[in-house]
C-alpha cells in the first residue's frame, strides 16, 4: 500500500517537474503556460496582497450554501420518494436523465429569477448537486435490511431511535457517496456559473484574468481552485474511510 502511495506521489512530482522543465527551457511559451513554481509564487503574492480574499470568500459562501442546501433537499426529497413507490417509479426517468442535460443552459434563468448576487449561484450549485444526493438517499434507504426495520418495530423504537440505530448505519456508505458527489457537483456548478455569467468569485476572476492577458494570475487562480477541490475531496475521502472502518469494528 505504501508503494502505491509513493509511486503516485512520484508520478505527480514527475508531471510537475516536466511542466517546469518545458517552461524553463522555453519549449512552451510563457503566454501559453506558466511554470508551476511561478504559479505558486504568484498565488502567494496574490494572497499576501489580499487580492483573492473577496473572490475566494464569495465562492466559499456560494459553494457551502449550495452543498448544504443540496444535502438537506436531497435527503428529504429522497426520503419522500423512497416512501412512495409510485412516485419513485414516476420520477425515475427524471432522475436518470438529469445529468444528461447540460445544466449550465439554465443559468440565465436562475439569474433572471434570483437577481445578480450570490443567490443564483447557490441555486445553480444546488440544482446540479441535489439529484446525486436524492439518488444516494434512495439507494441508501434500500440497503436497510427489512429484518432490521421489523426489529425496530418490535422494540417500538421511536422515529429518532430508528433513524440513529437502524437506518443510518445501513444507509451510511451510500449517503457518503452522495455527499462526496454533492460537493463535487456543487463546486463545479458554482465555479462554472461564475465563469460563464457572474461578476464575482474565483471563476469570474479566472475568466477576467484570461481576458486581460494576465496569464500568470490566471494560472495562479486555477491552481488555487484545483488545489482546494482536490484537498476537500481528499478530506471527504479520508473521513469516509474512517467512518466505514469504525462501523466494521
Amino acid at each position: 500500500m505504501r508503494g502505491v502511495a509513493l509511486t503516485r506521489l512520484g508520478v505527480i512530482a514527475a508531471f510537475i517537474a516536466l511542466l517546469e522543465a518545458l517552461c524553463r527551457f522555453g519549449i512552451v511559451k510563457p503566454l501559453t503556460l506558466v511554470a508551476p513554481s511561478r504559479m505558486v509564487g504568484t498565488l502567494i503574492d496574490l494572497i499576501q496582497a489580499g487580492d483573492v480574499g473577496d473572490d475566494a470568500a464569495r465562492t466559499a459562501i456560494e459553494v457551502a450554501g449550495a452543498f448544504v442546501l443540496a444535502i438537506l433537499l436531497g435527503v428529504s426529497i429522497g426520503a419522500v420518494i423512497h416512501a412512495i413507490p409510485r412516485l419513485r417509479r414516476a420520477v425515475a426517468p427524471v432522475l436518470v436523465s438529469w445529468y444528461a442535460v447540460p445544466s449550465f443552459v439554465f443559468y440565465p434563468l436562475f439569474i433572471a429569477l434570483l437577481g445578480l448576487s450570490e443567490a443564483p449561484l447557490i441555486a445553480i450549485g444546488a440544482f446540479s448537486a441535489t439529484p446525486a444526493m436524492v439518488v444516494a438517499t434512495i439507494s441508501g434507504l434500500d440497503r436497510v435490511p427489512r429484518v432490521l426495520r421489523r426489529v425496530a418495530r418490535v422494540h417500538r423504537m421511536g422515529f429518532w431511535d430508528t433513524l440513529r440505530h437502524i437506518t443510518l448505519p445501513s444507509a451510511l456508505p451510500s449517503l457518503f457517496t452522495g455527499v462526496k458527489l454533492a460537493f463535487a457537483y456543487a463546486f463545479i456548478g458554482v465555479i462554472a456559473g461564475e465563469f460563464i455569467l457572474s461578476g464575482g468569485g474565483l471563476g469570474y476572476a479566472i475568466a477576467y484574468a484570461y481576458e486581460s492577458f494576465e496569464t500568470a494570475k490566471m494560472y495562479a487562480l486555477m491552481l488555487l481552485v484545483l488545489g482546494v477541490g482536490v484537498a476537500v475531496n481528499a478530506g471527504l475521502h479520508t473521513w469516509e474511510g474512517r467512518l466505514l472502518r469504525r462501523r466494521q469494528r
Partner: protein, 244 residues
C-alpha cells in the same frame, strides 16, 4: 395504464414549473412553453439553423470517438495492470471532481479557436468516466470466470471474446452513457467560448443579444436531444445487463 398516467403527470408538473418560472421571471428571461415550441419548430424548419446543428454534431462525434477509444484503452490497461491501476485511479477520480471549465483558457491557448478546442473540451469531460468505469469493470471480473476459462483450456482469444468481453461490456456501456452526456456538455461549453458556430454558440449569443425566444428554443432542443439520447443509451445499458 397507471404508468402512462404517472408519466403524463410528471410531464405536466415540469410544464407547470416552466410556466411558473415564466410567470415569475417574465418575458425578459424565458418564453412560455407553447410559444417556445412554436419557435423551436420554426428553427428546425429554417435553413440557417442546421449548419449550427451539424457543427455541434461533428465536434461531438469526434470528441465521443476519442473519449471512447482513449477511455476504454486506458481503462483496460489500468484494470489489467493492478499496480498502475491503484496508482492512477485516485488521480483520475480527483480530476473527475474538479471544475474543468477553469481549464478552458488552457485549451484555447493550446488549440486555438475552432473545432479542435471544442473537441478537446469534450474529451477532457467525457474521457474520465469511460476510463473509470472500464477500470472498475476489469478489476471486478469474478475470479471464477478466469479460472473457468483456464479450466476449459480456452485460447487467449477465446477467453477475451467469450469470457472477458461479455463480463465487462455492461459496465463499459454505463461508462459510455455517462461519457456521452459529459462529452456533449464539454462540447457545448467549448462552443460557448471557442466558436462562432454550433448550438452552444447560439445559446451564448442569444444570451448576449437578449434574444430570449431563440435562447429558450435552442435550450429546449438541446435538452430534448440529450434526454432522448440518454433514454436510448439507458435502454441499451439495461439490454446488455440482462443479456449477461
Amino acid at each position: 395504464m397507471t404508468r402512462w398516467i404517472d408519466n403524463l403527470a410528471i410531464l405536466l408538473a415540469l410544464l407547470g414549473l416552466w410556466y411558473l418560472a415564466w410567470w415569475q421571471a417574465g418575458d425578459s428571461a424565458i418564453t412560455p412553453p407553447v410559444q417556445t415550441l412554436k419557435f423551436a419548430l420554426y428553427l428546425l424548419g429554417s435553413a440557417d439553423f442546421w449548419p449550427h446543428v451539424w457543427a455541434t454534431v461533428l465536434a461531438f462525434l469526434y470528441a465521443l470517438a476519442i473519449s471512447a477509444v482513449l477511455g476504454i484503452t486506458l481503462g483496460l490497461v489500468l484494470g489489467l495492470h493492478r499496480f498502475s491501476g491503484e496508482v492512477f485511479e485516485p488521480i483520475l477520480a480527483s480530476f473527475y471532481t474538479i471544475p474543468k471549465v477553469t481549464l478552458y483558457p488552457l485549451m484555447l491557448l493550446i488549440f486555438g479557436l475552432g473545432l479542435s478546442a471544442k473537441v478537446a473540451f469534450g474529451v477532457i469531460h467525457g474521457m474520465i468516466p469511460v476510463t473509470l468505469f472500464t477500470l472498475a469493470a476489469v478489476k471486478n471480473i469474478p475470479g471464477v470466470l478466469t479460472r473457468t476459462a483456464r479450466a476449459l483450456r480456452l485460447s487467449p482469444r477465446q477467453t477475451a471474446l467469450h469470457v472477458l468481453m461479455p463480463a465487462v461490456l455492461p459496465e463499459i456501456i454505463s461508462g459510455l452513457r455517462i461519457g456521452f452526456a459529459l462529452t456533449f456538455l464539454g462540447v457545448l461549453i467549448g462552443e460557448m467560448f471557442a466558436s462562432q458556430r454550433g448550438l452552444g454558440f447560439l445559446i451564448i449569443n442569444g444570451i448576449n443579444q437578449h434574444d430570449v425566444a431563440r435562447t429558450t428554443a435552442v435550450i429546449v432542443i438541446v435538452v430534448t436531444a440529450a434526454v432522448l439520447a440518454n433514454g436510448a443509451l439507458l435502454r441499451l445499458d439495461r439490454h446488455a445487463r440482462h443479456d449477461v
